[in-house]
Symmetry: C2
Subunit: 163 residues, 2 copies
Amino acid sequence: MTTSRQHTEALGRILELVVVLSDDMTRSLAAQGLTDARAHLLWELHHRGPSTQRVLADALRVSPRNITGLVDALAATGFVTREPHPTDRRATLVSFTEHGAAVTAAMERDQHEFARILFDGMPDDRFTALVEGLDDLLARLRAHGVSIDASREATDPESEAGR
Amino acid sequence: MTTSRQHTEALGRILELVVVLSDDMTRSLAAQGLTDARAHLLWELHHRGPSTQRVLADALRVSPRNITGLVDALAATGFVTREPHPTDRRATLVSFTEHGAAVTAAMERDQHEFARILFDGMPDDRFTALVEGLDDLLARLRAHGVSIDASREATDPESEAGR
DNA sequence: TCATGTGCTGAACCACCTTCACTATGTCGG
DNA sequence: CCGACATAGTGAAGGTGGTTCAGCACATGA
């Protein structure tokens, strides 16, 4: 039986991993002239293709007003362009410039390289055990009502009843 | 031999865990009237006892100027107090109020409860494998020059030479 | 056509972080 | 003891990321 102390130490390791990973990503993003939020937007755009700001707002879980600002900045620095939506004259379509597409492709390459650093050469049994452990953690979080989507409706006090 | 695709998926799991964990923490902090940065400061204070702002700035890896603002906010909402340093008249000591100490103690209880949710009842072999896997990842990151402290000196182009 | 909903933006605001300049104090060598 | 230099904290100004509210332009359905 594992102890509470071991649990807390394991949580500490996860949090350290969180800090190291996000720091490193922020740094490599900054090297390309991007902030976290702007890179995140580019990433969505990469996976969805040209999108309206509304769609991006939902994807990034952020207010539409904020998307305006991010797109302003990305357009000013030449990563994306705004074009009128072909059928809905209210909406604008955000698309990559060539530069934006190139940078995003580089981001994807970096991601694979990063995964390689983390996992390449790791024994199969350890890799499998690690992934199973992570899935277990995610399942436990979900089982306790902790999930990404909870941030939307968790303001409702009723949803705390199940604790 | 594991594939590049599996690596990328595993990285995705870690990132999801990161998002879920930090979202959940931010939410429970907000419930106590705290933001991430302010809670982080309280946490440091909890582990160090009354500290000068300089010490807190180093601990949080943040400019001293920013500490002034955070302490201002925490003092205004009654979590901490500023007192003159007993021997160094340049410095001020930041200490908990009763309220601040109580809230921080609650944070610590929450952390243990959270670790319990994550790990309690997990089979010993899985728990051990997970911790070993996490340690492996941290070791790989450090081996590739990715570390918490790298954020300080990584602005030096020389240090990139080892890639 | 008229009412209502949707997409985006201006204005105003808060949190967090930075750098630069400045004051007040500590410290150390001559 | 004193001048030179270092250190602790803060004011001012500014960038980024986020919010809400109000308003305009357009879409849509009764």
